[in-house]
Symmetry: C2
Subunit: 213 residues, 2 copies
């Protein structure tokens, strides 16, 4: 019998989404548990490190979203053909996550003055630098991010970019045709398209804690 | 012919050290390039994302320290026996890195008031929480961190803990006998001991940018 997966996250795309998309890509059935903020304080101490998402499988619990994605990428065969290819994928994923962390640091900063400073650096320096580099890689790879073929780095990027765009209130790949190509290629995979069409529409800014005024 | 490795980092342990220790563990010869701060502005734009460490191998360049460690862990056989074990190792490594990031955020904060606030949260909440959890895991695993056997998570933890201790100016595992056991086990592996004995002694606080007054 195939293992039964359970993904627990908030009712958001964000860090839970690459996990859900990878499972969908491989037609691996999963229970899509979405925690309400009011229920989080009770659940938090029961998670491995007080964080979501977690993945449960055959009674075992896994945490850390990138680690979970890598595990699932092996199951659904979106990894590289050798260790160096996997290193390239891993480094790409960590780089996208670095960008995500810097965006979140700005978004969740509650000191108005500091937030403005973080925003300036982010919009004028960090994002142009990262998007420029990633766009060049995607061009080199013919519309794929890590290697010249579909890997879980493409799924990871595509699953996170909408979340990043919402946080910075701008489409940061609007002028990056090759990164748009990555997103379009991922979205047009039939199993992923099917998931995108049926997934809960939760991508509302109202779901996030309000930024400081 | 065995591949020729070149590790480029600053003249510090920090993020370069788990890479050097993994190479040493597997008796993989490597060139240990240590960049002076004055030479960094020239080198920075030549690196993949303006960051060190990087690993060069047969003319190819890899970045992102955890991705590099995982690659080397496969070469030196410090990975798990199956995908779930590797997931457990990966999640442990990411958790140790999360702690490292929070410590660095405090250390490199230049606003005095904010720094004090970060320090209080770190010392009174974050570190006790993380060290408590990791200590419990190390106890469960008989003095190993991720699994009940030596893996690259142990090497990663041991290579980073001294750096973390320097940044917070305290031995945060002083009251965690099982985490001390992890460190002792790693250090007593003959190839690692040999490296520790011969490595440059660079662990001086003076090597870091001074904290704000």
């Amino acid at each position: 019998m195939a293992p039964s997966y359970k993904v627990t996250y908030f009712d958001l795309n964000a860090l839970g989404e690459p996990i859900r998309v990878l499972l969908s890509y491989g037609s691996l059935e999963f229970e899509d548990v979405r925690i309400k903020y009011k229920d989080w304080p009770d659940l938090k101490p029961k998670t491995p490190y007080g964080q979501l998402p977690i993945l449960e499988c055959d009674g075992k619990v896994a945490h850390q979203h990138i680690a979970i994605c890598r595990y699932l990428a092996k199951k659904v065969k979106l990894t590289g053909k050798d260790d160096w290819e996997d290193l390239t994928i891993d480094a790409t994923v960590e780089t996208v996550n670095d960008l995500r962390i810097m965006v979140a640091q700005f978004y969740y900063e509650h000191d108005g003055t500091l937030r403005k400073k973080l925003q300036e650096t982010l919009m004028n320096e960090t994002i142009p630098y990262y998007i420029g580099k990633l766009e060049a890689r995607a061009k080199e790879n013919g519309g794929y991010l890590a290697l010249p073929k579909l890997t879980w780095a493409d799924v990871y990027f595509t699953s996170l970019i909408d979340y990043i765009n919402v946080l910075v209130d701008k489409d940061i790949i609007a002028k990056a045709p090759n990164l748009q190509a990555v997103k379009n290629k991922v979205w047009s995979v039939p199993n992923i398209k099917k998931w995108m069409d049926k997934r809960p529409q939760t991508f509302k800014l109202a779901d996030f804690p309000p930024p400081p005024k």
